[in-house]
Symmetry: C2
Subunit: 139 residues, 2 copies
């Protein structure tokens, strides 16, 4: 399969033209065996380090937000001064290490099925996210 075609598809699907800069962003985000968590600042740094190229913050924001809207990225529900995204878009959960301020994936199958016994009239469930906060063992 052609990765580049995949990138172009993702971009077009998100209503974006495939430009040089955006394809670079795709390389970092999607050309990877492992999924990962990042902030826009992180991503920007990775781009300049790995690709020796600087893409303006505005472009990174614009691209990341378009992908998020289309579901190619997920925003992580955690209170922080910056927003974190996840390239793992499958339904899953997170541990958050409060001491080290680090997020760790928690697979859906590592959590027993969650059953919500209350409903809100006129609303339906879009997603269920579990955040497990961690402390050091001897705390």
């Amino acid at each position: 399969m052609n990765l580049n075609t995949d990138f172009v598809d993702k971009l077009r699907n998100s209503g974006l033209r495939p430009t040089k800069q955006r394809l670079k962003i795709c390389e970092i985000l999607f050309d990877n065996d492992k999924t990962f968590h990042f902030s826009v600042k992180d991503l920007s740094k990775i781009i300049s380090q790995k690709l020796g190229e600087k893409i303006s913050l505005a472009t990174v924001y614009n691209t990341v937000h378009a992908f998020e809207k289309k579901g190619y990225l997920k925003e992580i529900s955690i209170n922080s001064n910056q927003t974190y995204f996840d390239t793992n878009t499958s339904s899953h959960h997170h541990f958050f290490d409060e001491k080290e301020k680090k997020l760790i994936d928690l697979k859906n199958e590592d959590v027993d099925p969650i059953n919500i016994k209350k409903t809100i009239p006129g609303k339906k469930i879009k997603s269920i996210e579990v955040l497990v906060k961690l402390d050091p063992d001897n705390y």
Copy 2:
């Protein structure tokens, strides 16, 4: 029971002297049958409206953070440009209405017990929070 004594206790317990301003903040936060969600800006507005008094933002931040550290308030794990707090400190969860950007409490007993089947070496679970995102029914 004397509410004022309770407020003073909460403040002292949080390492804060009971000042006029802080007692006003307590009145809004704790002298209430219902629990509620708020941002610092919200709280500041409520104070000036209900009590006809303006307390500087720095003081509100300082007090709210001290209470949060001691567990008299809970920070809500949700990604937003501002931080939301909850006067409901019991273990519970939240719905989040994506359209109206509104938080709704979800009682622990309305969620079947959550079992996490994965552990992280050297860490123990501090809390488990579920966020149920909602969409309009016909979406």
